[in-house]
Amino acid sequence: MGDFVQLVVSGIAAGTIYGVAALGFTLLWQASGTINFAQGEFVMLPAFAMLLFLGIGAPLWLAFFAACIVSMLLLGVAFKRIIVDPLLRHGVIPLVIATLGLSVFVKQGIKAGVGALAYPFPSAFPAGQFAIAGIEVSYADLGTLLLAGGIVIALQLFLDRTMTGRAMQACAQNTEAARVLGIDVRRMTLYVFLINGALAAVAALLIAPSYLVKFDMGETIGLKAFFAAIIGGFNQTRGALLGGVLIGVLENLVGFYVSPAYKEGVALVVFLLVILLRPEGLLGKAEERKV
């Protein structure tokens, strides 16, 4: 029983990180119809930025905030202006292909410019474990859970409870109607891209200590975010967290009780089942086909 709870706790912790990356992914889709296949590289880049700032002597918190700003400018503003805006009018697929190209560019550019070696990354939380009622929980898992979970919930509250947040949702649901209502659609869309940049930096901070910083570290987290987003519901922000946690927990349980070899396969099987049986996702609403 202790094992089980321990596995679930660390699974939820891992899952919330997937959820953070997945959340950005769904937000982008909602706000601009962008399926961002470079989401994994969006997590990798701030990790390298943080290493850079740590390298010049900044403490971790400062490096994180600096990386956040870099990420919001580069992966938020620049990404939107240079790639998304000019391509949006062509429809979904050219944009998808451009993000695939972007993922190749970022990954290979880092490999060519920085190198293919892995680098260590300091954990934001102390090492070690503590026991509650006989169940051992590590500080890292608890910290991740609190930080990532807190951010997701805060973002959800922001979207639901504030004027700006509601305006953003309105833009996502019906761009034309939002415009008629006097909402500055361009600005709202830009906010979403900024939020995605910041979320990527958070995911990088949490995932880098265990994954190690490396040019291809985004492959796994990118796929997980992608699966989590679709499992939860592509067009529902709440779905991202659910999808992420579901993947994290199931992976841990299957890895321990069934076979570690197919741990990575868990997300896939759930994902394929969802696509086949409930394509709009667990929490999603079906979108009618538009021509």
Binding site: Q129, E136, P260
Partner: protein, 382 residues
């Protein structure tokens, strides 16, 4: 239409790329190394070791008066890429081929160098490599069959372990080593209470470590590649494991210590080569390497460097650039550091291409690898 013209122009252009059959001028050495993928750490170290040796050799006038021209290509840690690059090295007229380091890759690429009668040095440690009957293959480090008995002896004699939990990577290197390790501990009466396979490039070791921990062993034996070893050590620390953690070669290597940080402290491993060996030649090498590349070499750096000097020593011994003569001369050769300082440690090769020399037990103390014991070469006792 124009595309067709462009295409044909391109293809013809490829055909016209000059190919050199140089018999004089610089002598070509081809490196097939893991510069990306799961073997990046190993391949980069090995490659930099070779490069450093080549630079020194050229500065000192080359081999038999000819400069060495070393070209490295990236196998991406993939066997079929390594094989293609081996074909290319043969085409380019390489005198000797260095690498790949990964056992899985060399097992596939070595047939090409064998067909072309080109001596091929590998960093691979899987026992199978020198059991193929290939007279052109030579190791730059111990085989697992030599190393594992030394680890087994350490477990039973020093640690008095009665049970062990094994975590290994499921590839030629990890699985091969685990099989040899199982054979080595069987006569010592050590029980295997957990035998856990992990994937190459695995990111999350929480399940593997939890499972190993539940089996409550006296000792943990971790046998994976560098990045995985670091992740595993971190997870062991995270889950509060306080039993001895033992490995072979990789576990206490430089990159693992760097990546795992505090979590590496206390880990023990048998290593064939280490930059911390208490030998003046090795110390000098380590210093030169750090001046050149700004990081501390691991065992693969020493492998590449010493292998390149072995090429120089043996070529000068036979007095010509002849792959077949080179291979013949290598079998049964004994080289001493006194005569050839670049080889770093006294070494001898047997008829299969396996080598023998001293080795070390190392332990990570305060983020540094320390040599706790020097073990004699197997052949020295006879």
């Amino acid at each position: 239409m124009r595309s067709l013209v462009r295409l044909s122009a391109l293809l013809l252009g490829m055909a016209l790329v000059p190919s050199s059959f140089a018999q004089s001028g610089p002598v070509k050495i081809a490196g097939l190394v893991e510069l990306s993928g799961t073997g990046t750490t190993s391949g980069t170290n090995f490659n930099d070791g070779v490069k450093l040796a080549v630079k020194e050799i050229n500065a000192a006038g080359g081999i038999l008066g000819r400069k060495v021209e070393y070209t490295a290509s990236d196998t991406q840690s993939q066997p079929q890429v390594a094989k293609a690059l081996a074909i290319k090295a043969v085409d380019d007229g390489a005198y000797v081929v260095m690498g790949p380091v990964f056992s899985g890759s060399i097992l596939v690429s070595m047939t090409e160098t064998q067909k072309a009668h080109i001596p091929n040095f590998t960093g691979g440690e899987a026992a199978a490599i020198t059991q193929q009957g290939d007279p052109y293959i030579f190791r730059t480090s111990f085989t697992q069959t030599t190393a594992m008995p030394k680890v087994a002896r350490y477990l039973s004699d020093t640690l008095k372990a009665k049970s062990v939990a094994i975590i290994y990577t499921n590839n030629d290197f990890g699985k091969g080593g685990r099989d040899v390790f199982l054979k080595a501990i069987a006569p010592k009466g050590i029980k295997v209470v957990a035998d856990i396979s992990t994937d190459p490039g695995q990111l999350d070791f929480s399940g593997a470590v939890l499972k190993a921990k539940q089996s409550n062993p006296d000792v943990f034996f971790v046998y994976t590649n560098e990045e995985e070893a670091a992740r595993c050590l971190k997870e062991l620390k995270k889950q509060g494991v306080d039993k001895p953690i033992v490995g072979e070669t990789v576990l206490t290597s430089q990159k693992v210590i760097e990546l795992a940080g505090d979590a590496a402290n206390g880990a023990v491993a048998h290593v064939g080569l280490t930059a911390d060996a208490p030998l003046p030649e090795v110390k000098a090498f380590s210093q030169k390497f750090q001046n050149e590349y700004h990081y501390k070499p691991d065992h693969n750096g020493l492998k590449g460097y010493s292998a390149m000097y072995i090429v120089k020593a043996v070529t000068e011994k036979i007095g010509k650039f002849d792959g077949e003569a080179f291979a013949n001369a290598m079998h049964g050769i004994k080289l001493s550091v006194k005569q050839y300082p670049g080889i770093l440690m006294d070494v001898s090769f047997d008829k299969n291409g396996d080598l023998d020399r001293e080795s070390f037990m190392t332990k990570v103390v305060n983020g540094k690898q320390e040599v706790v014991a020097t073990l004699p070469a197997l052949g020295s006792g006879q």
